[in-house]
């Protein structure tokens, strides 16, 4: 759909660089957009399934106006949070290593230890 009036889409103000290599900044934004689209698709499927269950009838107009009840809202939010847990599993791993003082040195020591003992 082409809109008659174009509004501003990019915020004024230099965007900071977060990583040592700026390519990673761009890649992270792309990953997050993909993640968003994946969630959108899953939500849409979910809506279709729920409508089909309720009415055995699928209409795109109904999908756009379908109102979620509290239980459905909670199910969706749980699913999204579970998805994000998977998405950020490496951050979780990082904290776990810090808490357990799991280092590269310890890993090498373990190799040596197992080789010898």
């Amino acid at each position: 759909m082409s809109a008659e009036v174009k509004v501003r889409r990019d915020a004024r103000g230099k965007r900071p660089q977060f990583y040592d290599d700026p390519a990673n900044d761009t890649l992270m934004s792309m990953v997050m957009v993909l993640a968003s689209e994946l969630c959108v698709t899953r939500d849409r499927l979910d809506t279709i399934e729920r409508i089909a269950d309720e009415k055995n009838l699928i209409l795109s107009r109904e999908i756009d106006t379908f109102e979620l009840d509290q239980e459905a809202l909670a199910e969706r939010e749980q699913r999204r949070q579970d998805f994000m847990d998977r998405l950020f599993y490496l951050l979780r791993k990082d904290i776990s290593e810090l808490k357990e003082q799991d280092t590269g040195e310890r890993y090498t020591q373990t190799l040596d230890d197992i080789a010898k003992n």
Partner: protein, 410 residues
């Protein structure tokens, strides 16, 4: 996952709120879920990263421990976990605006028509001087990365950036400022009722009212009062005027600058602002205090609800909050928290003894507590005790700077 609250808060619809189709709604929900995930699951790890890794790395290179929030930031910026946190948080912020802008562009002519029709029905005034120029601190950067800021206009009678703010700020706050985004106004109203129950203002001014989220609760609490909202963006006051009518209220809105308004001396009993001060500037903030003093009737109150000064928190919390300054286009966020606001109020004419910082418990928390207790009065009582005991209550109360103009001038 155990222990994580499932946030299914939903904004309540009103006539000028942009409508969403299925996928737009899902994208918006994703941005809110992502923010929730970042705050509840990724942010807590920063403390661990700092203590077990980043502070040590800093000590190694600098030969001393980090001493303040700037040192902590320097230490953390080199850490990959922090880089991920910071980058994902920024992307989440950008996705909020991106997901809402798409829906607004699609329906802008209808939104403008709806706003015009509602405004025409309001008995309250809408004043827009076409020659007005918004101040530089509000336009130099798009604050909190909201494209177009508060004042850009893309077509005649435009309300686009206001609609963007209305929906976007709900997602930004993850619903914690209530289904009408009005929790700050409601909380200050409750605070007034509790602390000065006999205070019955007849003219109320809300400075930096944006789309009138917090302005409307004053009209609800004081229905006979003349209530005015003032802001620097024409789309904001246009949308605010229509939104208030859409919610059943006639509230006056004016395009203007809180540093120097068009109102007469001693023309208000109550002047409030909500998250305004941190979006002004070093020169503007003292001028706003002076303007409040000029506009207040003797015995009247000025109440600015914003976020607590740095002196009220430890260095690590300062570092976390100050990230907004550097990574979310909030140029005055950090500097405002360093300012001695009580001294500024005194310079503006208020007596030192008549200016205090306090905490106004969040109205939505009180409502939740009341629902549990089944008794509103009991819930209020519980909350008062809780909030009085803490230094500050993140997530539980709004920091309020209160100044009362002396009833008789010395």
């Amino acid at each position: 996952m155990a222990g994580v609250m499932l946030n299914t808060f939903q904004q309540i619809d009103h006539p000028v709120l942009p409508k969403v189709n299925h996928d737009e709604r899902s994208r918006q929900e994703f941005s809110k879920s992502l923010k929730n995930c970042i705050q509840q699951k990724i942010l807590p790890g920063l403390q661990t990263v700092y203590q077990t890794r980043a502070a040590k790395a800093f000590e190694k290179t600098e030969g001393r421990a980090p001493e303040n929030r700037r040192d902590i930031r320097k230490a953390m910026e080199r850490d990959l976990y922090f880089q991920h946190y910071n980058c994902i948080n920024r992307v989440a912020q950008e996705l909020i605006w991106e997901s809402v802008t798409t829906s607004i562009e699609r329906q802008l002519p209808e939104l403008i028509d709806t706003a015009r029709a509602l405004s025409a029905k309001s008995t309250a005034t809408l004043e827009i001087d076409p020659g007005f120029k918004p101040p530089r601190y509000a336009t130099a950067l798009d604050i909190h990365c909201m494209p177009g800021g508060y004042a850009d206009e893309f077509t005649e009678d435009d309300v686009a950036v206001a609609a963007l703010y209305d929906r976007g700020v709900y997602l930004y706050a993850m619903g914690f400022i209530g289904p009408y985004n009005d929790d700050m106004g409601r909380s200050v109203c409750n605070y007034l009722q509790r602390n000065v129950p006999d205070f019955k203002p007849t003219r109320i001014l809300d400075m930096g009212c944006s789309v009138g989220h917090s302005t409307v609760p004053y009209k609800e609490r004081f229905p006979d009062a003349q209530v005015y909202g003032l802001d620097i963006g024409a789309p904001l006051v246009r949308y605010a005027h229509a939104r208030a009518k859409g919610l059943g209220h006639d509230v006056n809105f004016v395009l203007g600058n809180a540093e120097q308004t068009q109102f007469e001396d001693e023309s208000f009993d109550l002047i409030v602002s909500h998250i305004l001060l941190h979006e002004t500037s070093g020169k503007a903030m003292p001028r706003i205090f002076k303007e409040c003093f000029r506009l207040l009737k003797p015995g009247g109150y000025m109440i600015h609800a914003d976020l607590p000064p740095f002196t009220k928190m430890d260095n690590f919390s300062q570092f976390i909050l100050d990230l907004e300054t550097y990574y979310n286009n909030e140029p005055f966020w950090g500097a405002m928290r360093e300012a001695d606001q009580i001294a500024l109020a005194e310079k503006a004419g208020f007596r030192r003894a008549d200016v205090v910082f306090d905490t106004a418990p969040m109205a939505i928390m009180e409502l939740a507590a009341a629902a549990q207790a089944g008794n509103a009065a009991a819930a209020m009582d519980t909350n008062s005790k809780e909030f009085k005991s803490g230094e500050f209550a993140p997530g539980g109360g709004w920091e309020v700077l209160i100044g009362r103009k002396a009833a008789v001038q010395a």
